[in-house]
Every structure is written in structure tokens, then in C-alpha cells.
């Protein structure tokens, strides 16, 4: 039995995982990262548009700060997020951007003077301050009050991932590539590591660590059409779920991105709309102002996706062999802009559609994009049920996104979350010793060995690829953008049937090493359990919040549903998760639930909202007029951070007077 020991074990080598590994190694801890693929191939590389951080360098970002970023994030989440976490995040985002500049990211920079931009389909001239010349630029993104999304052309994720992985290489952090973690080693209270399989040799290994951090990304591939890389299959969430102890949070919160190309579902960045691109219907009509006169194309993602679906349901979609779609028009931005700032988009259009987006419209439709749900953690990134199990990035429900994530907040979460949680992981490793119970390790190992043996020698008859596709279609058809009780019931019933069938998978390829069919056979039942947490959670939540839109319950019901769904898997033979709920405490919120700014305000108010608003008014009155925004914030909702991350962020407006400057 091969056992590898370390201090800080990280599963997943995307931005979040690598950032945690770096934080561990910085403290002198032995660190090992496991990855399905080479680190630089991680799905983090696909983030095109950028990351939000309230630097406030550009003229369109003047006046931006942590408070505004926090408010945008909470409203974006439809009040489903953890406000402490949103505060920690907004405070550290500028630090992460600046740290990344020091690690080599060539952030797009501001050129002083006049430049032309497209705002609301019109060319406008903006003038950047002399003092801002050479500082980090930001572009507009949906759901934000200020231009806050820092970027490198439209390859921000690529640029960040390469810088962070280079840093990890410099620090000599080993990444064990082509290794798949398949179960957690735990005693019901404390996590000790993982059992993992080498995808080349088939060897099973136990990796033992003081802390185990899961940073495996989202679960988009339980859907048939997704913008996610094909490795985003939810196995990290399944690892936690299969302990029967650790909980997953808000699994039904699944975001659809408005502009993925048809039919393959590859994303074109929100930066297209942020930079001035428009959505058009089959008549060439720009329809978003009809639905959202204020925010138009730059309404929150879940809102735009639903409006597009609504519009297509009215027969305004463009017919295609793959069903109706709409058009994304970026021709008005001009060829130069498309070929520099939206270059990936141009390549995608050329290679997959054979069109030139500087002169042709792009066929798009809303497509599964992001998993707000994940492994439930507390504010320090640790599972409340399983000590030593941490999770970060899209794999986690930390939970700064609530029921809808803002564009530019996912890439930001990977590096900001990694920065914060990395320090807590390192603290944990320093305070705890390695606990080794070889009996427990052996038991976990033989269980996994048994599962593999059963698949290889068993007499099963089910085809794993067929089961997988059936699951993906059920999720697409019945657990999509608009949901209702009838369809969700159907999804649950059919997924349970598939889970039963998955116990009888038969393999044609009997190789113990490098066997793609065996890899699928190990994944699919795990994916089905994850899919059931999504479908069951969605079926139970009889309200609409953020990306979770129930046609039969259109109201956001703060009175009954201002809570987080928790799922656990009762036992191996169970066919559905056990759901419970964690209440969000309005009396502790800095920003009590209110109107989100889209459509009719149809929310059913929480009884505590008025009381909390009055309490906040009292706190502010007591502080008096001399209090600054930091004093007010601290009085309303104090939050904690590792000490080295507490200092305030300096901004251009703190150092010079920039107003009125040319």
C-alpha cells in the first residue's frame, strides 16, 4: 500500500488550489497538489473577462471601494450569500490583484487622456487622469455599479493561472498530475486525506495530510450543454458528500451564462456586453431594453438568461437545427477592439462557427455555466462537520455568491478565497499534528479496491456512457433556467432510477491501468449523487431566488426561504440526499434583504428586516457624523481576517486629488 504523507494536501491545481498550496508552502509546510491534468490546463484558464477588485483607478471606477463591491455582491446573490464572507472577499480583492501583478500578470493598464468607449450602443469619450497612467485598468461587467473588472485582454484566467502556476513551480510545490481523488479518508469527525488513483498506471495511493483542501471546481458537466471544461464533473463535491457527514450547500443554485455559442456551448465572455455588445432577436431588434430598461444587456446574468429564454419562448429566437438562439452583436465595437480586447472570442468564432465577429453576429443562447453550490464551509473555508477538510473556489459553498454570482467574481474568488483560506489552512496545519490510523487508511483503500474489482470482474450489463448522457439530458430538460414542481419531480424520479442502474455497470475494457471506461464508471455514480442533490434541493425550494427560478413560485420568499440548503448522503444504499436548512440571520446582516433592482419587487419580506433596518439606523445615529465608512461598517457587522490581510487598501483618490484632472 503506497502512502504519501504531507502537511497540506490540496486536491485540484486550478487557481484556488494552487493559491492555497502557495500559502502553505510560504509557511514552510510540506505541500502536495493532486490534479487530473497538468496545472496550466485547469478550467481557471477559460475565464476570459476578468476579476473584480475595487481599485478605483479608471475614471469609470472613481468612488469605488469595498463597500460598493460588497453591496453589489450581496444584491447579486439575491441576499443568499454569507455577508461576512462577502466582506472578507471585497476587502482582499484589491490585494490579490496587486499581488498577482507582482507575480507577473501583465494586467491591462490605463492610458491617460481621451479614449472612445461604447456605452449603451453609443460611442462616448472618457478621459483618464494623468495620475492613473500605467495603473491597472478595469472594464464594465453586469451587476456592478462601477467599472471594476480588472483584465488582461480577454485571457485573464489564462494569464492568472500561468502566473500562479509559475509561482508554484518557483516554490518547488509538487503537482502530482493525472491523479484522481476518489474518496476521503476520515473517521466521521476528522479528515485525514484521500484515496486516489493514478490515471496512467491505475495504482491506488493514500495521500495523508494534516489538512485536505478540495479545490476541484464546479459540477457543470452533470448538464449536457455547459461552458465548463469536460473535467468539471463534481467529483470534489462527491468526495465530501460520500462521507455521509460533510454537507454540501445550495446545490440547486446553478447559473446559466447568457452568451455561449450554439451548438457547442463554448463561452463568449460577458466582456462582450461589458464593452458595449448588444443582444438581438431574429428581427435584429435589440430586446433587452424592453425588459430591463435600466440595466439592459448588463443586468445580472441570471436575469439576462431568463429574459432571453422568455423572448425565445415568444417566438423571437432564430431557428436552427439545434433549436432557437439569439444574436450577440459586437460589430459596433470596431475591428481593432475585437482583435485586441476580445481576441479569444474572435478565435472561437473563427474556429467553431466560421464567422468574423467584427462583421457577423454571433449565435448565442443561455448555457449552464457556474455552480454556486458546493462543499459547505464556514468563513475560514473549513467544513463545519469534518475537521481538517477545507474547500475553496467553485468547489466550495463558502459562500459569497448565494444564489447568483456576479461576472468577474468567480475568477476573483479563486485567488482571493485561496489567499484567505490558504492562511487558515496553514494555521490549521501548524496547530495540528498528523493523525495516522493505518487501519483506517487500509479500510478506505480496500473499499476503493473493491469498487474497482467489482467493475472489472463483475457481470454488470449497463453501459456507463448511456447512463451519463441520460443524466445530463434530465438535468438540462428538467432542472434548467426555469423550473417547476412537475418537472423537478420527474427529474428526481428518473435520476434515482439511473442511480439504481449505475450499480450494475458492465465494462467492455477490462484494463486495470489507463482505462477511460473505468474512469467513467467510477465517476458516473458519484455524479448522479451530486445531480440528485441539485434536483432534490431545487424541488424542495418553493421560491425563486437568484438563478433558481420556479415558475410555480415566482416570489422570493424571505419569510420562509432565507436559508441555505444543506445536503448529506445518508448511506451507500440511499437513492436521495437528506436535506436540512441553515437559516440566514437577518439581525446580523450589514445589508438586510431589499429590492434587487430587476423587474417587480415581489419579495415576501422577512419579519426581521424592518427591525434590523431600525437597529442599523440607531447604530449609525449613535456613531454621529464624525464616523468614517470603516467605523460605520465595523459597528454594523464586524468581520475577521488573518492579520496580514487586515490593512486598508490604498487608492489613487487617497494619494492625490484626481477630480477634474485631464
Amino acid at each position: 500500500m503506497k502512502i504519501i504523507y504531507t502537511d497540506s494536501l490540496v486536491v485540484g491545481a486550478g487557481l484556488a488550489g494552487l493559491r492555497v498550496a502557495i500559502a502553505s508552502k510560504e509557511r514552510g509546510l510540506d505541500t502536495v497538489v493532486l490534479s487530473l491534468i497538468p496545472a496550466k490546463r485547469s478550467h481557471s484558464a477559460a475565464a476570459q473577462g476578468g476579476m473584480q477588485a475595487s481599485l478605483g483607478n479608471t475614471v469609470k471606477g472613481m468612488g469605488d471601494d469595498e463597500d460598493v463591491h460588497f453591496q453589489d455582491t450581496v444584491k447579486g446573490s439575491d441576499w443568499g450569500c454569507d455577508q461576512d464572507v462577502a466582506r472578507m472577499f471585497a476587502h482582499c480583492a484589491p490585494k490579490a490583484v496587486r499581488e498577482l501583478a507582482n507575480w507577473g500578470v501583465p494586467w491591462s493598464r490605463i492610458t491617460a487622456g481621451d479614449r472612445q468607449v461604447v456605452v449603451n450602443a453609443e460611442k462616448v469619450t472618457i478621459t483618464e487622469a494623468e495620475k492613473a497612467h500605467g495603473l491597472i485598468n478595469a472594464r464594465d461587467f453586469g451587476g456592478t455599479k462601477k467599472w471594476r473588472t480588472c483584465y488582461t485582454a480577454d485571457g485573464t484566467g489564462h494569464s492568472l493561472l500561468y502566473a500562479v502556476d509559475n509561482k508554484a513551480i518557483e516554490m518547488d510545490i509538487p503537482v502530482h498530475e493525472r491523479i484522481e481523488a476518489l474518496s476521503l479518508i476520515h473517521d466521521g469527525k476528522r479528515c485525514h486525506g484521500v484515496i486516489a488513483r493514478c490515471l496512467i498506471t491505475g495504482e491506488l495511493r493514500a495521500y495523508i495530510g494534516k489538512a485536505t483542501t478540495i479545490a476541484t471546481g464546479g459540477y457543470g458537466r452533470i448538464y449536457e450543454v455547459s461552458t465548463n471544461a469536460i473535467i468539471c464533473e463534481g467529483i470534489g463535491q462527491a468526495l465530501a458528500l460520500d462521507t455521509g457527514v460533510a454537507t454540501l450547500g445550495n446545490m440547486e443554485a446553478v447559473q446559466f451564462h447568457p452568451t455561449a455559442i450554439v451548438p457547442v456551448g463554448i463561452l463568449t465572455t460577458e466582456g462582450c456586453r461589458g464593452d458595449g455588445g448588444l443582444l438581438r432577436d431574429k428581427d435584429g431588434h435589440r430586446f433587452m431594453p424592453d425588459y430591463e430598461p435600466e440595466k439592459k444587456e448588463l443586468a445580472s446574468r441570471d436575469v439576462v438568461s431568463r429574459r432571453m429564454t422568455e423572448h425565445m419562448r415568444k417566438g423571437k429566437g432564430v431557428d436552427s437545427p439545434y433549436g432557437p438562439h439569439l444574436w450577440l452583436d459586437i460589430t459596433l465595437l470596431g475591428r481593432k477592439h475585437v482583435e485586441t480586447n476580445l481576441r479569444e472570442v474572435k478565435e472561437i468564432c473563427e474556429n467553431f462557427l466560421g464567422i468574423d465577429p467584427a462583421k457577423d453576429w454571433i449565435p448565442v443562447r443561455p448555457t449552464q455555466h457556474y455552480s454556486m453550490g458546493g462543499i459547505r464551509t464556514n468563513a475560514t473555508g473549513e467544513s463545519p462537520q469534518l475537521t481538517g477538510l477545507f474547500s475553496v473556489g467553485e468547489a466550495a459553498c463558502w459562500d459569497m455568491h448565494g444564489f447568483n454570482r456576479l461576472g468577474g467574481n468567480s475568477l476573483a474568488e479563486t485567488v482571493v478565497g485561496g489567499m484567505i483560506i490558504g492562511k487558515y489552512v496553514a494555521d490549521f496545519c501548524e496547530k495540528n499534528t498528523l493523525e495516522i490510523n493505518t487501519g483506517e487508511i487500509e479500510a478506505s483503500m480496500s473499499k476503493m479496491q473493491h469498487e474497482i474489482d467489482e467493475l472489472l470482474v463483475g457481470k454488470g450489463t449497463e453501459n456507463v456512457f448511456e447512463i451519463k448522457l441520460a443524466m445530463q439530458r434530465i438535468m438540462m430538460d428538467y432542472v434548467g433556467i426555469f423550473r417547476n414542481g412537475t418537472e423537478l419531480e420527474k427529474a428526481v424520479t428518473e435520476l434515482k432510477d439511473l442511480l439504481t442502474r449505475s450499480k450494475n455497470i458492465g465494462l467492455k475494457c477490462k484494463k486495470r491501468h489507463a482505462n477511460p471506461e473505468l474512469v467513467e464508471a467510477l465517476r458516473v455514480p458519484r455524479m448522479l449523487r451530486v445531480a440528485l442533490t441539485v434536483a432534490c434541493g431545487a424541488n424542495a425550494r418553493t421560491e425563486s431566488r437568484g438563478a433558481h427560478a420556479r415558475e410555480d413560485y415566482p416570489q422570493r420568499n424571505d419569510k420562509e426561504w432565507l436559508n441555505r440548503t444543506l445536503s448529506t448522503w445518508p448511506d451507500e444504499n440511499a437513492l436521495e440526499p437528506k436535506l436540512s436548512y441553515e437559516q440566514l440571520d437577518v439581525m446580523k446582516m450589514e445589508l438586510p434583504p431589499g429590492y434587487r433592482g430587476y423587474g417587480n419587487d415581489n419579495a415576501v419580506a422577512h419579519p426581521d428586516t424592518a427591525a434590523r433596518e431600525a437597529q442599523i439606523a440607531d447604530i449609525l445615529a449613535e456613531l454621529g457624523d464624525d464616523a468614517d465608512r470603516f467605523d460605520k461598517q465595523a459597528a454594523i457587522m464586524p468581520f475577521d481576517l488573518p492579520e496580514t490581510l487586515r490593512p486598508r487598501n490604498e487608492r489613487l483618490s487617497d494619494t492625490v486629488s484626481v477630480s477634474g484632472e485631464k
Binding site: 491534468i37 497538468p38 496545472a39 496550466k40 490546463r41 485547469s42 478550467h43 481599485l55 490579490a96 490583484v97 496587486r98 499581488e99 501583478a101 507582482n102 507577473g104 501583465p106 494586467w107 491591462s108 493598464r109 492610458t111 497612467h133 500605467g134 495603473l135 491597472i136 488582461t152 485582454a153 485571457g155 489564462h158 494569464s159 500561468y162 509559475n166 509561482k167 513551480i169 518557483e170 503537482v175 498530475e177 496512467i200 498506471t201 471544461a229 469536460i230 457547442v264 463554448i266 463561452l267 485586441t340 479569444e344 474556429n351 467553431f352 456512457f465 467492455k508 475494457c509 484494463k511 491501468h513 489507463a514 482505462n515 477511460p516 467513467e520 487598501n649 490604498e650 489613487l652 494619494t655
Partner: protein, 245 residues
Amino acid sequence: MSSPRTISFEIFRYDPQDPNDKPKMVTYEITEAPGMTVFIALNLLREQQDPSLQFDFVCRAGICGSCAMVINGKPTLACRTLTANFPDGKIKLMPLPGFELIGDLSVNTGKFMRELAERLQLWLQPDSNDIDIHRLENPMDPAEAAKLYELERCVECGVCVSACATKQMKDTFVGAVGMMKIARFEMDSRDTRTAEDFYHVIGNQDGVFGCMTLLGCQDACPKDLPHMQQIAYLRRKMAQTIVSC
């Protein structure tokens, strides 16, 4: 409308871990669908005809670089190669040469790239790591930032390595990918290494002076990176270093 055509895939098959296996070419047939890419076709072949078929895809969108393979003689990204590009409907797939073979079409580019990065120290080496992240960042020339990003667009797919005759003959040659990255850090005003420092790494037959300028790297690069320009730039820099000594 004419009925969809049948296309044939002739695929290299070999499992280096199986002592009894020998390399061979196996032909598969599949019905073409509109917009079909080699990614879609290979997945269908694996799901419907041969579940043991090994190949690598991650992003399937031309972003991650994992799926490079030799398609009808040319190294390129399989995910964004449309089957419609081949009028005779015959597609021959081979693994990228120059890398450790994992099996069939899958090669270990990750191991290669990590070793290259360690050997050439391909990370930013600033004056000091002690920069205050709570304060305003250092300004940078906007044109320089844009230029660095242009060179940074490499996805480490390995196509340039496979398309390089020098690399095929000389295993220690750093290849276009190594030089592109060196050029990226050489041009970065934040990096304190001098041309002399880089000379020690690539001012030899394993580096700029080993390149035969056949430019397979530039012709095949799926990201259209300006390899020719960078190699010429580095040569000039390295030559100047010798002259100035």
C-alpha cells in the same frame, strides 16, 4: 439535402504499459454531423465503438492546449479541427512526437513543460518579493503590458515542439515554447534578469544558436504566436551580449 457522409478515422493505437501490445493503426468509421470536430468524433468513437481509446481533452475550446495531436500529418489542436475541413473524409490521427507516450493519442506534455520551466526558470524574478500589496501598485507602460500579454498567450500545447526538426534531432533543445517564454520575461521591465543571465541559459546550441529557422513552430502554432520574431529578437540580444563582453 444530401445524406450525411461517412468519414473514416485511422488512429494510432498502442499501450506502452502492456508488454504484449504493439503499435498499430486502426480504422474506425463514423457518420459526420454538422459542425463535427475531431473532439466530438473521438468521444463518439469511444462511447460507441471502443471504450479503451485514449486521448486528452480538457476545455474543448482551443484554450487549454491539452488535445494537440498530429492530424493528417500536421500537429494541431484536435478540439477546433472541423471534420468538414477534410474533403475526402479520411482523417489520420497520430500522437505528438517528442513527448512521452501515455497511450494511443495521449502524451505527457505536462511533465515536459514543468521540467522545461524548472530548467529555464520560467517565472518572474523581480527585484524584491517584498512589495506592499495594500498600497497602490507600481505603474507599468500600457503598451508594454499589452505586448507581454501577446507573448503570454502560449497554451503549452507542444505543437511547436512537434513541428520542430531541431527538437526532433536534439532532445536538449529548448524549442520555440522555451524561447517564447524567455523572451516574455526578458521584455518584462519587472524582471531583473539581464541579457547576460539569459545568455547562460539559451546562448548555445540548445537555445537560440541551435535553431535551424525552419519555422515549423510559427507555421503550426495554434495561437499564431510570433515565434520567428522572438527567436530573431533573442538571437540579436544574445549576439550583442557576446560583442559587448
